[in-house]
């Protein structure tokens, strides 16, 4: 069984509810509605139906035969979240939260977004369920992710550029919380990862655990055994919690969370909250955090916008400290190399986020033998990253 947080929303020492009083009643209302929905088979039946007919689940567990090289003997499997409608795992969560919002009688959805993937996934379910959507997005990200901004608008959402702070995901999340505080009665805040105040980290994991449940069943059915290793990239940590949760009780399955090291964990230009951060409070929960000596949140860097976040979900902090999962860094350059490799060797253009997990899979496979069974959660497809990768390549060619 996946881990249950305690009554105050803690996974061990991590989690909780560090929010202004104005939000407490809303979080309690949400928690009560969530518990009611989770106990209602009808709710899950509808969720599964939407995942099947709209998202296109189950996603395949694909044997990647060429990515590790022709002479590699380690079996490698990709969990294909990239084939979901809208191109990433994010939609599993937004479907669940939109169904819950409707059940609660909420009339609007609010979301934060960095790269725009969660914004697109929220705008998509808003369109599908007829709920207006307001997306908050840092001004810098609005510029960097112009295509996703346009897609959200096409889907009928309103995108609000956020000019405070670092003008990125952290500040978009601050703003979404503030806006929610002013509209708690009519609005539902759809958080995009396993972060935020209780019950969000738990709730988002429950909406992503379908990834792990499918993977487990597919492994057992096809290979008659559990994987030896499960690898997922960790931004806030939702795709990783989604796949890890089905295996936390199987100590023989090693769990690997791959963080964005950026230019290196010690470079000061990193997004590896677990690898380079310390314990603190951000966006409503206690977890690891990239912060200064003085408790100010530090600006982060990663080639991948979806991993470019100074915090990480509290359940990952718990899994790290308990030793159940291991968190490893992958740099921008390593991720980029894996991005190219995966495209050429497998015919799959991965998201830059997922490319971090792929890069680590290559390192790990070098230490594994043919009796291993390595699963990588391919959290999303790379269409959104192509303009950025192309610009990087052109810049590199100009230099050389």
């Amino acid at each position: 069984m996946p881990i249950e947080p305690n009554a105050r929303g803690y996974f061990g020492a991590f989690g909780g509810r560090f929010v202004p009083e104005v939000l407490v009643a809303a979080l309690e209302e949400l928690e009560a509605a969530m518990r009611g929905a989770f106990a209602d088979e009808g709710f899950w039946a509808e969720y599964r139906e939407v995942l099947r007919d709209f998202v296109g689940r189950p996603s395949a567990l694909y044997p990647a035969l060429r990515f590790l090289g022709a002479d590699a003997s380690v079996p490698l499997l990709f969990k294909r979240e990239d084939t979901n409608h809208t191109g990433a795992h994010k939609i599993n969560n937004t479907v669940g939260q939109a169904l819950l919002a409707r059940r609660m009688g909420k009339r609007r959805l609010i979301a934060e977004t960095g790269a725009g993937q969660h914004g697109v996934a929220t705008a998509t379910v808003g369109a599908k369920f007829g709920l207006p959507v307001d997306v908050y997005m840092g001004e810098l990200d609005v510029e960097r992710q112009a295509l996703n901004v346009y897609i959200m608008q096409l889907l009928g959402a309103t995108v609000h550029p956020v000019s405070g702070g670092t003008k990125t995901l952290k500040d978009a999340t601050n703003e979404a919380f503030r806006v929610w505080a002013a509209q708690v009665e009519e609005s539902f805040y759809v958080i995009g990862s396993v972060v935020g105040a209780h019950p969000y980290p738990y709730m988002v994991r429950e909406f992503q655990k379908v990834i792990g449940e499918e993977t487990r069943a597919q492994c057992l059915e096809r290979y008659g055994r559990l994987p030896s290793d499960v690898i997922a990239c960790v931004g806030g940590g939702s795709n990783a919690m989604g796949i890890f949760s089905a295996f936390v009780d199987d100590p023989e399955v090693r769990l690997w969370g791959v963080e964005a090291a950026g230019e290196g964990v010690a470079s000061g230009r990193t997004a590896a909250a677990l690898g380079a951060g310390s314990v603190g409070v951000l966006h409503g929960s206690r977890s690891y955090l990239l912060q200064s000596e003085r408790g100010q949140v530090i600006e982060t860097h990663s080639i991948s916008a979806g991993l470019d976040y100074p915090g990480v979900g509290p359940e990952h902090a718990f899994l790290k400290d308990s030793g159940r999962a291991t968190y490893v860094p992958i740099t921008d350059d390593e991720a980029l190399a894996a991005f190219y490799d995966c495209a050429k060797s497998e015919g799959i253009v991965p998201a830059l986020e997922s490319a971090h997990a792929l890069a680590f899979a290559k390192k790990l496979a070098a230490q594994r033998t043919s009796d291993a069974l390595v699963v990588v959660n391919l959290s999303g497809r790379g269409d959104k990253d192509i303009a950025q990768v192309r610009a990087l390549r052109e810049r590199a060619e100009v230099r050389s």
Binding site: R17, F18, A182, G280, L282, E293
Partner: protein, 259 residues
Amino acid sequence: MRLVDAFAARSKRRPAFVPYVMAGDPDLATTEAVVRALARNGATAIELGIPYGDPLADGPTIAAAGARALASGITIEDVLGSVARLAPEIPSSIVLFTYFNPLDRYGLERFARDAARAGAAGAIVPDIALEESEELRAIFALHCIDVPMLVAPSTPPERAVKIAAASSGFLYIVSRLGVTGAASEPDFAPMRRQVAALRAATDLPLALGFGVSRPEHVRAVADDVDAVIVGSALIDALAGTSGDDAVAATERFVSGLFA
């Protein structure tokens, strides 16, 4: 000065005046001059913001003031240094206002001790609600630092009673859903629904804040609450000033507010 004494000794001015300023915006010398001017002009307590980069409970005015103060390098130690200079000189209580993470990082015990030594009367931490506040309240109480807690329009009545019982110094009533800022109007209806039950639950002074910005607001609530907290409107009035200009702007603002 402790809050209980400041409220007992307050002038005839009703309601009592509790202004908020951001320490170090634009510089600490200006902040100290403004605090002295506020004290001379009848402030019962003065909330002194310690800047934090991710202020979830604050709207654009205070968030921007915090960003300016951080850009000038202001630290908790700097703010406590100001408190130590101001507290012996002014007849108003000084209440520090900041978020949980910088306090936690500094060390709750160390902060309570240093704040008490500097002469601060209290600390408001707007991102810890009742459930997460127990340890902080216990530590701060040992050092005689009051912790005014917040009641929001969305707070259910039974919960408001518990918050009132946990609060010290005064009880902070948030006028409306949302964050600080003078751009949208305060709403006095939720406060009026809550005030009788809060009076029954606590003897603490009741202070109303969030959006209180104009003389008509002050007059409208004079019979309901004991104090008004005014932050963003004052910071807006101080925009672009420093030194003597800031003092003059402060005096103009206060006389206008209580006109």
